[in-house]
Amino acid sequence: MKIPPGLLGATVLLWGFETRLLPFAAIVALLIEAHHFTSLRFDLSELDLRRLWTLSTLLFVGAAGYCFISRDGPSSLMIFLQSAAAPSKSKAFFQVFNVGLILFQWLPLIFLPMMLGQLYSRAGRIRLSSFFWLYRGRIEQSTGNFYVNFGFPFIAVCFAAASAANSRDDLFYPCVAILSGWLLYAIRPRRYSVVYWLSLVALVGYGGGWGHEGLHAAHGILEGRTAEWISRLIQRNTNPNESKTSIGKIGKIKLTSGIVMRVHPVAKKPVPSHLRDSIYTTYRGTSWFSALGKRDFASVIVESDQTSWKLQNQTNFPDEVGISAYLNRGEGILAVPTTVGVIRNLPVLILETNSLGAIKVREGPGLVRYNILYGGDNTIDSPPSRAEENDVPETERTATLRIVNELQLHGGSAQEVQRALVKLEKYFSEKFTYSMYVTASKNGQPGSETSISDFLNNTHSGHCEYFATATVLLLRQAGIPARYVTGYVVDEFDQDKHCYLVRHRHAHAWTLVYFNGSWHDYDTTPSTWINEEKKLASRFEGWSDWWDDIWYSFSFWRYLGNQDYYRTVLVILLFTLLGFLAWRIIYKGKWNKTKTKKSEASADLPGADSEFYRIETALLTRGLHREEYESFAGWIQRLQQTGLVPVYPEIPGILQIHYAYRFDPQGLTPEQRLYLSSAVSECMEKISKLPNALIHKN
């Protein structure tokens, strides 16, 4: 199948028009179509075409790498791979997808060398094996040589590139239809009349126009429905940092052991045991709600150094700790100790807090390493509301009331509260055990106990969410204000890195209790839980940590090192690598050639040591040129026939013996070998006696 003249150029022009690269496209189209008007053709071998394809592939890899780096691809990809939240994953996926779309727009230029290679080669077609390394060798031998016309995929690439530009003009569809029709007309079966064929193309064109509008409309409807569905899904299940969490959420997070953050001790001061990120107030069903939404966050004014954020009016804090954590596209909830007062070295544009003490940041880098000043009795949390003092769901009241009465828990003065806390902690430690993640399976079944009631009355075993929820409800039942907190426990110190590693499996839930005019952390989960969870650690945790370290180092260098420098370095590295690959391929080819020549020359050919070559050299040095196509016999015969030079009559005889020595499988007898040597010596003596000038003169 041949592509009709002009079609390739027209397709390239469409690409240029859609991508606003019309001048480039015009040059490319001219180069492509010029092959119809010139007889210039190159004798490109299979190897040359393979190299052109390699060049195109390298250009593709280079362009992809450049796009990826310059368009924030690495962080998007890492977010896509690491984020647990569906919206973040989706956003990151589309960011990577957009990088791909930009790359698509460059494709015609990337594959241009191959296209020109085919058009200006004598063969005018390319073997399939030039494109696919795997196809070479055995598969090609068994299936035969397949040739492809690269023009067809090139047209498809141009259409794809033009569509990726997303110009939204009305010309794209008619142009695609006309150009495709042009191509189809050239290959149409001749059994159908042109009128019939044109009618059908017009029908397809009209139907396609109607169809693509319908597709767009359908996509709009589907997108709306999907967004609605996703938002429901998010509300129901996912984001612990916002306003809701369900029992089981923390348990699921615990199932992996990736490193979430690193906690760096400052001046050998102790680090906080708990770092919280979300606080919840209301329990319904199996879910905790914070009663506050996104809009309840208020901005904090940054200090003059632009990286310090003062959250409490107090200035002196006894303790300080450093924390390194990733921000999801520059956004996130900070994990902090309950008594956080000041945050330093936090290079974000916006920091917000809500009345429950959650701290949200936006417009920051992908990785932050901030210092927190904390300690004392004050917190940034609002005082308890009335609801938080006695808000216990009706379904849990029976169980909680029984235990409160049994333990005689009641609020009041700080001493009474502390006594109640001691009793409760003792109660949990003596009568309850920690177990791995279990789902709240019984919830919602009519007539069955709720998960928490079941935990308190029957099972006496659960993971941290059960303990924390039960504690909050019991305290509230006793009239002591309490809140439900999620966050992480800081426990695993890494001697090599001199910091604490906080993993997903350290995710935890505990309780905030209000007494003495402030909130205090209160954790009733048996302390064995960390060891229990550690038993679940994967055997490959070391490898995972190794990769986390590499990524952390890279992120640290990227976000906290010289930020303007990294792109240049990466691009230089990329192009160095590509250059090396290109050089390697070219050099390898040459090296192979050289090697072949050397090996051919050094091969132990029979008769390679024949003395006849001395005669040849002597005659050549005397200007008796031998044509490339001439055999020795033909050369000697020509010299004899011209009569211009004295060619000795014994040379043909010597040549015969030389041929026998060189090509006869039987070889020479020792006598013949001796004769060859002596005859050549005699002849050489005669030749050497002749003055060079005489021969040249002749």
Partner: protein, 448 residues
């Protein structure tokens, strides 16, 4: 479990066959472009590829709608030659007639091929000959095993060909070409005549069942001029076996009558001319009788070695001129077989036919072949032994033949990389002992 998963994955290649059957190359290109544009245009707000997708889908839909409307009746007759050969394109003729009043253009024709995909049991239990030499990945994935089984089952590669304009109500004779890939009987099911849609993308078919079979001879290679192993032995049976029954010695000369000559040898015409009895003198003819011993006892599970041996044997059969000699083919199949060709008994092609159908002997011991060959040793002037291996059994056979003083040419099949074995009992005549690399048979046989 994993192997079943691979099998299911490879079975998807059936879609590939369906695609190539149902669409023209241009159609496949359009399908691929439609798929690409669908993927690229999945978000209709981000790209405009969905517009191209709509157009391409329209082309395919209109093309697909034309499929049910091709119901022309063709009368097809296939004219096959007697044989085909592995690796040699087999060209034969079709006689096509159609009832339409108009000539038919742009039709395509092909042989209908059975689904070549192997069954699960075949995939699980049949081992590819070179599988043990493959790397761990290939051995695990078993893709080469799949390819081997597909080729083994397919029998021949039949590509679609364009038909010239078919004139109305006439017998149109067209040639068709297939490439046999394995020896034996090749079953041809029927003829598919295809019509592309107006865009030349989707094909509609008419199927004409025409079941026929053709014998595919083994692949043969050129042999150099061989000095066949000969002994100056008068072969028992002589010419009587070759051309006629009874005493049928060759006429040598005329001579005068001597007392005691049988009267029926008198040459009456000369007697009439000269007036004295002239006797026709006859001379017993000495001719060569070779035996080709084919080893059908596979020592391992290497089918390639056996196929190579068949090819080597076929090359010898084609090479040895049976105009001037006799050739016996000795092998063991379900039982011991001895087949003689030459001197009017049978032609070489009959022997090639036999070789096309020889299978491995799985239920008889090697001693059966040895017994037959040794008993044959008295009747032939030389043996050509094509052996699959050079183990003790085979060496024992050769040892007995050497001891019997029969000239021998021994050819051993050797896998690539396998060392050349020591001649053993052939040490006294190493020039007639060859271990040929089966991956390079053509070159190796040329060196014999």
């Amino acid at each position: 479990m994993l192997q079943r998963l691979f099998y299911r994955s490879y079975r998807v290649t059936g879609f590939h066959h369906w695609l190539w059957k149902r669409f023209t190359p241009a159609g496949i290109f359009v399908v691929a472009c439609a798929g690409m544009s669908a993927a690229l245009g999945v978000d209709t707000n981000e790209t405009m590829a969905y517009q191209a997708f709509a157009f391409l889908l329209g082309l395919l839909v209109i093309g697909g709608l034309s499929v049910p409307f091709f119901r022309m009746r063709f009368h097809v007759n296939r004219i096959l030659p007697r044989f085909g050969s592995v690796g040699v394109p087999l060209v034969y003729f079709l006689e096509i007639k159609h009832p339409s009043r108009l000539p038919q253009f742009n039709l395509l024709v092909s042989e209908k091929q059975e689904d070549p995909r192997p069954s699960l049991n075949e995939f699980l239990f049949l081992k590819e000959p070179e599988e043990d030499n493959r790397n761990f990945f290939d051995r695990t994935m078993k893709y080469y095993r799949w390819m081997w089984l597909v080729n083994r089952k397919r029998g021949a590669i039949a590509r679609e060909q364009s038909l010239p304009a078919l004139l109305p109500r006439k017998i149109n004779k067209v040639s068709l070409e297939i490439s046999p890939t394995r020896r034996g009987r090749l079953q041809l099911k029927g003829i598919l005549i295809a019509r592309p849609d107006p865009f030349g993308l989707v094909k509609s078919f008419v199927y004409q069942p025409r079941e026929q079979s053709i014998l595919v001879l083994p692949r043969r290679y050129a042999l150099p001029h061989l000095a066949m192993p000969n002994g100056s032995k008068y072969p028992h049976g002589g010419v009587s076996l070759a051309s006629s029954i009874g005493e049928s010695e060759e006429f040598a000369a005329l001579r005068d009558y001597r007392p005691g000559d049988p009267p029926r040898r008198i040459h009456w015409k000369s007697f009439a001319k000269t007036g004295k009895p002239i006797i026709k003198e006859f001379q017993d003819e000495f001719f060569v009788r070779h035996a080709l011993v084919l080893d059908t006892f596979n020592s391992g599970d290497d089918a390639n070695r056996f196929e190579a041996a068949i090819s080597v044997a076929a090359s010898f059969v084609a090479h040895i001129s049976t105009q001037e000699s006799l050739l016996d083919l000795l092998f063991v199949g379900p039982k011991a077989f001895s087949f003689t060709a030459g001197r009017g008994v049978a032609q070489n092609d009959r022997m090639l036919e036999i070789l096309a159908c020889v299978e491995l002997c799985l239920d008889l011991p090697f001693v059966e072949l040895e017994r037959m060959v040794v008993s044959h040793a008295r009747e032939v002037s030389g043996f050509v032994c094509v052996l699959l291996n050079w183990d003790e059994n085979r060496q024992q056979l050769v040892r007995k033949l050497v001891a019997a003083g029969v000239p021998l040419l021994v050819v051993i099949m050797r896998l690539p990389g396998e060392p050349v074995p020591a001649p053993g009992p052939m040490a006294g005549d190493p020039a007639h002992f060859h271990a040929v690399d089966i991956s390079n048979l053509e070159e190796e046989l040329a060196r014999l």
